[in-house]
Each structure stands twice: as C-alpha cells, then as structure tokens.
Amino acid sequence: MAYTEEELKKELETKEYEYGFYTDIESDTFPIGLNEDIVRAISKRKEEPEWMTDWRLKAFASWKEMKEPEWANVRYEKPDFQAISYYSAPKKKDKYESLDEVDPELLDTFNKLGISLDEQKKLAGVAVDIVIDSVSVATTFRDTLAEKGIIFCSISEAIKDYPDLVRKYLGTVIPPKDNFYAALNAAVFSDGSFCYIPKGVRCPMELSTYFRINQAGTGQFERTLVIADEGSYVSYLEGCTAPSRDENQLHAACVELIAMDDAEIKYSTVQNWYPGNKEGKGGVYNFVTKRGICHTNAKISWTQVETGSAVTWKYPSCILKGDNSIGEFYSIAVTNNYQQADTGTKMVHIGKNTRSTIISKGISAGKSQNSYRGLVQVNPKASNARNFSQCDSLLMGNECGAHTFPYIEARNNSAQIEHEATTSKIGEDQIFYCNQRGIDTEKAIALIVNGFSKEVLNKLPMEFAVEAQKLLEISLEGSVG
C-alpha cells in the first residue's frame, strides 16, 4: 500500500477535493422531513422487529424535547431538520449474490475511491464492510472471521440475525437521550456496522469500514456497535470520504464500544468529509458521539485523524468503569480555510487504578478555528487514577485560531493528573531552512506538520498512517501564500 513519492506528488497537484465526484445511481430516497411516520417507515423499510421500532420512537420523542447544543466553539447556520431526507439507499431488487450483480456504477465509485473489492480482497488482513449512503452493500472476509466466531456485519443485519446481542448492548454506552445528535441518530439511523469478538479471541485482521455520503441532500446517520467479549482484542479502522456538495450535509453518527473484562479495542478513524470550498461554502456538518466503556482490566484506544468537514463536533470518550482499565485518545485535527473543529475527549475514571492518556495535536491554517475540549473526571471511588494530557497546537498564518478547553474534575485525593499544552507557529526560519536544502515550501510544511503529528501518526495501523500523512498534506495545500 506504500505510495511512491511520485504518486504522492501527483496527488498534491490536485488542488480540488479529489473525492468530489458524484455517482449517478438510481436510489430510493424518502421525502424530506422528520416525524413519527418517517421513523416508523425507516424501521419498516429495514424490516426491523417491533422492539427496534419502539426504541427508535422513544428516541424520537426525546429528541423532540431537546435543543441543539450551543456550547461548542463553532459558528454555523443550524440545519433545518425538516429539510433533510432521512433515508437513501441504492435501489436494488434482492441481496447481491456476487459482485456481478452489483450496479456497475457503484463498483466504479469504489474504484474511484481506490477501494475496489478485488483489491481489498487481496489486501492482506483487511476485511471491509462498505457503507454507501446508508446501506451496506458488500461484506468481505466474513467467512474467515466466522471461523473464529467473530461477527462483522451491518447493524441492520445484526438486528435481524443477532437480536439478543444488539438488544442487550445497543444504547448502553450512549443512551438515546444522551444528547441532541445522539437522540436524532437513535431515531433515524440508517445503517452502520456491528462487530462482536467472542471471549478470548484475538481478531486476526484489522476490521475496516468506509463511509460515504453520496445522495444530494441526504443526511447520514451511521450507528456502530463494537463488542469485545472477555479477553478479546480487535482493531477497527474507520475511514471516510465524501463527494463535494454545495449545500451543507449533516452527518450525525454514533459509535459505541464495549470492552469487557481484559478486552482491548483499538478504534482508528481517518475523517475526510468534504470541508467546503475556499470561501467556506458547503461542507459536511459532522456531529458525532463516540464513547466506549471499559470493564475490569480492559483498554480502549481512540485514534483519530480529522482533516475534513466544515464543522466538527466530536469527543470520543472512555468510561473507565472497571478497576485497572485504560483509556487512550490520540488525535490530529487539521482545519484550513473556514473549517471549524471542536473536538477532544472525555475520560471518566470510575474504577480504581484507572489510567488515561490524551495526546491532541491541532493544526490550524487559513481562517479556521480549531478547539480542543477535554474532560478528565475522577470519581470519588476511583483511587489512584492517573491521567496525562498533552495538547499541542500548530498555527499557520495569522488569521486562524487555536483554543484549548481542558476541564479537570478530581474528586479523589489520590488522583494524579498532568496537563501540558503548547502552541507554536510554523516559523519562517524553519521554512527557509528547508528551502535552503532545496525543499519547496509546500513539502516543507508537510514535513513540519508530519513531524508535529508524529506521536499520533505512529499510533495508526500502517496502511492508515500512509493515507493519513497524505491527507494532512492535501488538506493544508495552499495554506501558505
């Protein structure tokens, strides 16, 4: 998967958002607007059992009573929730038996994204559940996984095939009432991924999902549920690309992770939704709730590279419920032009001897605003809790902003909490130094930014690290005049 320098350079020459194409697939789209009937219709279309329909309706009832949060350090025109269509699926007759039956244009889309199924199959150790506009159309490697008892499928399938598991865990980490967007997601989620790793099983491959928004005016509401049973291990990769679009698109996903005793979940994200154009027009609104719960001796690691979206509101969090559990958050957030990001994490220490680490790297360019917001909470019974937080900001130019909002609530005297923060600017002397060695300014910035982000990039699985580095370069193009 290694990109040659030449390929990299070619990529860099493409100034326009490279995934900004639109696939003309005949699709099945609901009328715009949101009410109980739409919620019922989504549930019905997905052939869901009654308990699921009720769960959605309850969430919808809560959502109606809730207000869109305004505390984040972002400014945007609030979406008109009645102007969005809440369901869009590529039209299909039956389930596909083989790739030949898949709409050729859809396959073409995959090819443009560089994730052709053939290629993916060959790619060692990566199973892919591709979600295009809400409905999962292809799943590979499922048989290999099934041998180990691992379940990896779309959440719609899981609701049908493994209702007991879904019913037991869905909404336990992020209750439908948790927040405005989580409630919205619970009411209308269209699809997403489901993963279950049985006791003591180490998942032999990285699991990955590619998300994509494709239908104009379609909100995308993904729901992901990952359950790692006792003593198991899984590494899950989530990568996103979206075509460019003029009107803002709403993306409100929920990801719930459950790490049982002695289990470990590594969840990595590269987020590359359309960020809007240079003037700040268009772009995705990315309002995501991600949270995991760690039982005794369990560990959850969130790693994210956020380069896309016009507005990002996202705090992957860990509830360290079990004794000796560990939560980690490694983040790179890049904002350019008029992008706004308010992202960070929550580490809630409940069990004894719980540990958390937060490494956040914010890179701001253009006229963008980049905020880190994090909460470290140590509950009264969480003796010997430890946290280390490091928040570094890198500024490019004089018109962008970097903000850090660390909240610390320690209610146990034995807690050890460290917080370090730095803000630096890419220096002209650094650029000149690189120039003098024959390195052009664009490449110099890429070098400096990659160096700045290294601690986090190193946490990503290999194939993702390459893509992430490339994304950092692409998203900062033209940011130095």
Binding site: D429, Y433, Q436, G451
Partner: protein, 249 residues
C-alpha cells in the same frame, strides 16, 4: 563560479551590505572574517536567497546565471549550500528523514528519480562514519535538544550528503570543541575538490588552521576592506580588528 558585484542589501530598510565585490572560482577556499555586526551572516543569507533581505543594488551570479530571480530552493538546486550559524529545530522529523527529503528534492529538480533506499542508506553510513556520527544520532529529531557542537556537525553531515558546488559555512567553528572542530574540518577537506568551492565565515583564525584558505577577506561595515592570503588571518589574530578600524579611520 560565484561572482558578486557591488552588492548592496537591506533588511527592514536598513542597509547592511554596502558594496561587496567577490569572485570565487572552482577549487578555491575563501575565508571571510570581520568583527560582529560587519555583515558576514547577512552576506551568506543574501547569497542563499532569504526573502527578508532586499538586494537594492548590484548583482550575484552563480555559474554565469544571475540569481536575482531565483528563490532559495532553486538556488539550492543549483548547488548553493549554507551551513547555518543557528540551525533550526524541526520536532518529530528525524535527521535521516530530513536528509532523505532534501536529497530527493534536489534529485527531482534534476529530473532524477528518488534515490533508492539501499543507496541512500549506504551514503548515510559512509558520511556518518566520516564525521564520526553515531547511528543513534540519525534517528533523533532534527536539531531538537542538540548541543551546539551536534548542530554544527549535523550541518556538515548534510553538506557531505548533498555535495553542493558552493558551500558557505557560517561560523561553523562556534560551539565546536577542538576535537569536533578537527573532525568537521577533516570532513570539509575530504569533500573539497577542483570542481567545488568553500566560503568560510568566521571570527577566529582557529578554523583556518584546519581548513586552509586560498584567500582571506576582511568584512567591515558592509564592505570588504582588505583581502589577502592566509597570512592576513594570522595578522588579524595577532593585532585584532581594531587594527583594521584604525587603518580605515
């Protein structure tokens, strides 16, 4: 190779260089000496093409080509190398990664493919050995937490890797202890050939005991006020710069 004619240069409206003339030919070593504030570092920075310095009069040409329109990276591509007096830190970028990027940038400018990893590794090993650089050093972040001596040695390591036509060494001797100075000077001497040239910028005669110059120039108040051979450096060492100042007064 390098021809500087009546060069005047300013930074923030302040004139620092007030009419420099200098001719450097292939195979030559020139030393530019002078008291603090005489314009030595400005001269090296202007040759390298820093944007903040404005050439108000005169010209610099390199291999017959006027450099005025060329920015720093293109001057580097032509074969001009500056060993910085104060090399900058680039956190998270290893010495190896940086030199790899620089080498491939130069190769690209020449229309060449990236250097194969095997060749790169071989070259890095050779040059590191020549300068007695430990391999652990190569995986450290560029100049981050380096001692003054390590920074300078790293500059010369880059010089050795990039093999430029013209090397300008700005106060490379400062911060080096005597052993390190010998190693660095040894390295520079090994790299010298009939096709390349070296300009040494220094306060002190010390470095010139190890890298023997063909010409010595004294820079004072933005002008080269005296030129000679290496004996001039000894004279300066003995008499100090006040001697020049008095002579000019």
């Amino acid at each position: 190779m390098l021809t500087i004619k009546d060069l005047h240069a300013s930074v923030e409206e302040k004139e620092i260089l007030k009419g420099i003339n200098l001719q450097v030919n292939p195979g030559e070593v020139h030393a530019i000496m002078g008291p603090n504030g005489s314009g030595k570092s400005t001269l090296s920075t202007v040759i390298a093409g820093h944007e903040d310095y404005e050439v108000t009069k005169g010209s610099i040409s390199f291999d017959g080509e006027d450099l005025e329109e060329l920015d720093a990276e293109h001057r580097a591509h032509k074969g001009i190398f500056l060993s910085f007096q104060y090399p900058v830190e680039i956190p998270g970028v290893t010495v190896t990664n940086f030199i790899k990027t620089a080498i491939n940038a130069l190769r690209k400018a020449k229309g060449l493919e990236d250097m194969p990893a095997k060749d790169m590794l071989k070259s890095i090993r050779e040059k590191a050995a020549m300068l007695e650089i430990d391999s652990k050093f190569l995986s450290r972040s560029l100049n981050e937490g380096f001692s003054g001596g390590e920074k300078k040695r790293n500059e010369i390591f880059q010089l050795a890797m990039l093999e430029p036509k013209l090397a300008i060494l700005d106060e490379t001797d400062s911060g080096l202890d005597i052993d390190a100075l010998k190693i660095v000077a040894d390295g520079v001497n090994k790299l010298k050939s009939k096709d390349n040239a070296v300009v040494l910028i220094t306060h002190y005669q010390r470095l010139l005991d190890y890298i023997v110059p063909d010409f010595v120039h004294v820079l004072y108040n933005g002008r080269i006020v005296k030129s000679g051979t290496k004996e001039l450096a000894h004279e300066l060492e003995a008499k100090g710069y006040d001697w020049i100042k008095q002579e000019l007064a």
